[in-house]
């Protein structure tokens, strides 16, 4: 038992080293094929850590019901995943040279960057349809032709078309579609109008009678989006008068869309 415990602790060290040095798992697999039955040698000798790693893999492949080995396998996977996440988090603050990373980071903010406008007729008249859309951590009830001020959206320039894909609710005068929590087929199209700074707010701190006074100015970076289209719900056809249909007939049918 003590023998196995020593091996397991050394295997844990080995996995820590592997996760730091980011060894590709393929080499370990090759080692596994080469050394199917690693001899249970004394851990004092400085063998390559592959053997220890393969030894622990051997345990997991044999599906032993030992709780220690199962926990250890989970720890290996967790440590590898954490290493990847740390790398991803450190990269997010720097230049996003691969465009795939841009789209991933954009997906975190629940928007998809579409192509720039090229003489599209995107700005339509008002349609009596609304949607509840989430950007970052803020939710807005939007309709066609509205303007939204959100936090500065990276990865999009002025005059870009966006698709906001996190839609929580769609509504029209006759129908309401509720998402659980989001609607997969709904899309809200928007155009970036401006990237600007908000007015300056002065953060003033004072402790009375303690000779402490601080003044700090802050300007929040905002993005103004103009909503152009809402898709995913049946829109009533507007008659050629140009006036939108008034919601005189209110028969809201609530449809819950299971996600």
């Amino acid at each position: 038992m003590a023998h196995r415990r020593c091996l397991l602790s050394l295997a844990r060290h080995a996995t820590a080293i592997i996760s730091q040095k980011k060894m590709p798992p393929l080499s370990a697999v090759e080692v596994l094929t080469r050394k199917p039955n690693p001899a249970i040698t004394i851990p004092n000798s400085e063998l390559s850590w592959f053997s220890f790693w393969s030894h622990s893999r051997h345990f997991s492949s044999s599906k032993s019901e030992d709780s220690e080995t199962e926990v250890e396998v989970e720890m290996e996977e967790a440590s590898d995943v954490e290493a990847e996440n740390d790398n991803a988090a450190s990269d997010l603050g720097r230049d996003y040279s691969p465009e795939e990373k841009e789209t991933e980071a954009v997906a975190i903010g629940y928007k998809v960057l579409g192509p720039l406008q090229r003489s599209d007729r995107v700005f339509k008249d008002y349609e009596p349809v609304f949607a509840v859309v989430q950007i970052g951590s803020h939710q807005f009830k939007v309709s066609n032709g509205d303007s939204i001020f959100t936090e500065r959206l990276k990865f999009c320039e002025v005059n870009d078309k966006l698709i906001l894909n996190k839609v929580l609710l769609l509504g029209s005068p006759t129908q309401t579609i509720i998402g659980r929590p989001i609607l997969p087929d709904a899309a809200v199209h928007a155009v970036v109008e401006e990237h600007a700074l908000d007015a300056k707010v002065i953060i003033f701190k004072k402790k009375r009678r303690k000779n402490y006074r601080r003044t700090k100015g802050h300007r929040q970076e905002l993005t103004k989006l103009r909503i152009t289209d809402i898709q995913g719900i049946e829109k009533q056809e507007i008659k050629t008068d140009g006036k939108p249909l008034k919601a005189a007939v209110k028969n809201p049918e609530k449809i819950a869309a299971a996600v």
Binding site: E102, L116, Q117, R118, S119, R121, V122, F123, D125, Y126, P128, V129, F130, H138, F140, K141, V142, S143, G145, D146, S147, I148, F149, T150, F155, E157, V158, N159, G171, S172, P173, T176, V191, E193, E194, H195, A196, L197, D198, A199, V201, L222, K224, R226, P244, A247, K250, P252
Partner: protein, 150 residues
Amino acid sequence: MGQTARPGPTARPKYGKVRTIGSAIAASLLPMALRGVWQLKKLIVSYCDWGGSSRGIRAFMESELPTFKEKNPQLEVVTELIRGQHPHLKGFYKNKNERVVCVKNMTPEDILLYATRLRNALGRKVVKLKTRHVTKHPSVQGTWTTDVKF
């Protein structure tokens, strides 16, 4: 992340029909527009060839101003020599608003950032926002009152 050509002045007539509708209603609300139309018309880069506070802007004019001009063909960029004064950037917007940014003792990268900010902005007055959601039609299914029954 190269910026491609923006819709130039030729694109304006295509949006003209929609824009007039917007402007008629917008007269009662905040000045809107930029429906695909850039709002910054002209940028004046004023500098001094003798002063030390203009060093950054002189470097900016050599290194980054040509690329800025190419990326924004719709923008009219003018360089102006003012001797003995601090350098500044002046932006003229479609709503006849002027924004002046003093760029004395700034690095070329900072000046590019400010120039990009002027280009990205509408010409509206910088006031604290009342709401983050500006709409002309607040209700689709009818405004709720206490009498509404579902």
